[in-house]
Subunit: 377 residues, 2 copies
């Protein structure tokens, strides 16, 4: 197995309890909410427990407002397609991933929404007052990421949520890069729709994610069976059934439930501290090497994702070299075209090192030793 | 564990190879198509292999036209939302599941499509010439199930496909109840969009399914990252990326890949024969008991799903009684409101017994013995 430093893409090493939860759910669990027998009831209970644990974990006021999705992308598409109407104005940022930009661009291309961006520059500067400056009479929502998946820059959702709340805007947050690492409280931060994947910081399985809603109504983009009220012609009014149709991903949800419990048992602050320590250590060592530029906004807090521009090679060459030496990082645009443009790296791409709770300082030592050999060769 | 007879809802017992595939993929597999390191390449190869095996399995002419989804519901929603335009007329049937009816009803409610139904009656009669009779100048497609999830009645897709082809209509097939049990050839049966779940007859995990397309273009309803061409503003033109965005369900796809290989190794005809034998044996024994009415169209072929109406109790009472005796069946409307109406059972529901490849004749003997005790009590 590689020294895996691509945790911003997905977690590879999982907690033992997550693996066991998935393994134990493969058999013995039926289709929930549709039967009175043991295997079906097992699933219903498991899914309710997962919903309850996740609601507590993110401060979602209603357990039934935790909607399981196939990932952050589905959650974001559901939130974005589910709240806007023709003529709405939306504020987003240049820090966004394509899972935010493309659903918004689609609605813009259809002539449904107007779109404005809080901009950044080659130093990742952001002026949070821009969120307020961009508000117009028809502004309906702010849709933004909690942290860049390229630079790790954390946006201050305290400020953004307050602006949204003050101006009666809907606040849709993409927490894919922070969930499981930074505590989030939907009520405190005035978040109306919280979207995240289950397989990154939460260390659950791919194919899982959530849309949690608070004090808004989201219209469905999917329609299908719910096991209840089967004579309704289109969709139900109740959550989660309004937004959750078809057979759920039971093994994935089981893993997610175990993942949230694991993070609670470790303590999210401890996870953040460990990852921050790895990040600081890595940046210090890289700066000592002298041949790498770190792209970040130093005024902001950071996740353990670090954007690196090698001064004497290109990003993809660096990723290939490291891969040949058993170290997994990612090079490219990272599905964040506006940020990569702002950083002036549209032609070269960026080498991204992203650390997770399972990484160790020793792995960074091996990484640094391996990087030192680049110059020797 | 129950004697599990709710295979039309989901499979509970899985082939050993499927369980192992899922277990082996939980760790060691990264995010595909986005990295050059081992764990990412492992996933890319695995997903390509799964796509290739599924394409062969259903006769999908292009490997890239196999789209992984979170289930049949997502696949059907994507196909239905992705091909219709304002003014299109659509033909469906009263045999459909809500995963077909509700997406169609949604488009009808929006004023986008007109909808007509091939009808049935209390004997599940269907006149396949109705598909042709209902065709109008603006008919765009036939959307129907391959087999009822309530009665097991198999619709003749040879006839329906031929009608669709002759009249240049798009043929969208919901094969959720037949995939893995009855061989399907998209080209031979003129199927343009084949939608199915991975966790029923295929015996893979929940959270998986496919939309396979043939000779049509489907517009996406989801937008997000693909790991390639990140500067495109909305979506890509190439499949699968046009319809498959975000991180895929890698463990689920791994299970699905193993499931298809398992079914190939057993032989799909052998699976169908085994299930048909169970069905015939069950129906014979039930008829001998004399207190149960079987709802089916005797002129059609059948999956191993049997709709039963108890003459001296109600369906849910029967399901509860069997559940108390360790036997899992399902009672209710089964998300098929039009069929349950046609059968005149909207108030009582239907008891559904659905057998899978893992069931045995001995389990049916226990079931029948248990049912015999109902009258004793």
């Amino acid at each position: 197995m590689s020294i895996y430093l691509d945790n911003a893409a997905t977690s590879v090493r999982k907690p033992e309890s997550v693996i066991n939860a998935i393994k134990n759910t493969i058999e013995n669990y039926g289709n929930p909410a549709r039967g009175v027998y043991t295997e079906s009831l097992n699933s219903s209970r498991l899914i309710y427990e997962a919903r309850e644990n996740i609601a507590k974990f993110v401060g979602c006021p209603e357990v039934s407002h935790v909607i399981f999705t196939s990932g952050a992308t589905q959650a974001l598409n559901m939130a974005i397609a589910g709240i806007f109407h023709k003529g709405d104005h939306v504020i987003t940022t240049e820090f966004e991933h394509n899972s935010v930009l493309r659903p918004l661009n689609h609605l813009k291309a259809l002539g449904i929404i107007e779109l404005d961006y809080v901009k950044t520059d080659s130093q990742c500067n952001i002026d949070f007052r821009d969120f307020e400056r961009l508000i117009k009479k028809n502004t309906k929502a702010i849709v933004c990421t909690h942290a860049s998946n390229v630079t790790g820059d954390i946006l201050d959702i305290g400020i953004i949520g307050e602006i949204a709340y003050t101006h009666n805007l809907c606040f849709i947050l993409d927490a894919s890069q922070t969930i499981g690492v930074i505590g989030i409280d939907m009520v405190k931060n005035h978040i109306n729709a919280l979207c995240f994947s289950g397989h990154k910081g939460l260390m659950g399985a791919t194919g899982t994610g959530c849309l949690c809603i608070n004090d808004i109504d989201v219209e469905p983009i999917f329609f299908g069976g719910t096991g209840i009220q089967s004579f309704e012609p289109v969709s139900l009014r109740e959550y989660p059934e309004k937004l959750e149709v078809g057979t759920p991903n039971i093994i994935g949800i089981s893993g997610l439930n175990a993942a949230v419990q694991y993070i609670n048992s470790v303590g999210i602050e401890r996870i953040f501290c460990h990852e921050s320590m790895l990040r600081s250590y890595f940046i210090g060592e890289m700066q000592a090497l002298g041949r790498y530029r770190i792209m970040q906004n130093e005024a902001l807090n950071h996740t353990a994702t670090v954007a690196v521009i090698p001064k004497d090679t290109d990003a993809s060459g660096l990723a290939s070299y490291l891969s040949d030496h058993g170290i997994a990082i990612r090079a490219g645009v990272h599905c964040a075209p506006l940020l990569v443009n702002a950083l002036g790296q549209q032609n070269n791409g960026i080498a991204r090192f992203s650390f997770g709770y399972m990484n160790t300082q020793e792995e960074i030592d091996i990484l640094i030793d391996t990087l030192k050999q680049v110059s020797v060769n």
